[in-house]
């Protein structure tokens, strides 16, 4: 099963956007999705990032359903 994930910034430059992350099942926690992303794109092991669901920031314990819009956000740098 694959979950579509939108990327920005350096992640988008490296991998394009969207990407499709291999997951065993849905729903899963945001933490599990991030782990699956890191497993698939191993160059980002040391890069911290935030996660957004349906255009709102979420915590890693929140559940992600198949229909949710998901984005992974590298360190922001506005201003």
């Amino acid at each position: 099963m694959k979950k579509e994930v939108q990327l920005f910034g350096i992640l988008k430059e490296q991998y394009g956007s969207p990407v499709f992350v291999d997951v065993s099942d849905l729903p899963i926690s945001a933490k599990e999705l991030i782990a699956a992303f890191r497993n698939q794109f191993q160059e980002v092991q040391d890069l911290p990032f935030l996660i957004a669901k349906n255009h709102f920031m979420i915590q890693e314990n929140e559940l992600i359903e198949a229909a949710d819009h998901i984005a992974l956000l590298p360190p922001v740098s506005g201003g």
């Binding site: 910034g9 350096i10 990032f49 935030l50 957004a52 920031m57 740098s77 506005g78 201003g79």
Partner: protein, 138 residues
Amino acid sequence: MKTDFQLIDHANAFPDLEQFRSEGSGAEVVFNGIVRTPNKGSDVLYLEFEAYEALFHNEMKRIAETLESQFQINTLVLHHRVGRVFPGEIAVVAAVYSQHRKDAFQACESLMNDLKSTVPIWKKEFNSDGSFWVSQTP
């Protein structure tokens, strides 16, 4: 509290701030963030800004609600450029309108701190030595 949050795609497209003034606001604090050169010893050619627009508006709304609970604010404004921005050009305008200066100064500083910590905007610096993504948080 009134708010106005916009992503601006052209240097001449910043809205006139005069529209946000009112008789009830005795203080107007405006911060202009300007692209500078040199930066860390390299001549900056330009910055390229990218934003996640839907999340930008949601996150700005959340920040505004927090600031409103901390300060007396009549109007809160944040306008941020996206795309290519050259040295000397304005990248961001933050403006706070309040009854008194103390709240306006403090709210404007908090707004800029929040912008740099959670608002989904990214910049890549292109300089005389190459290019790199600027990382601030998380």
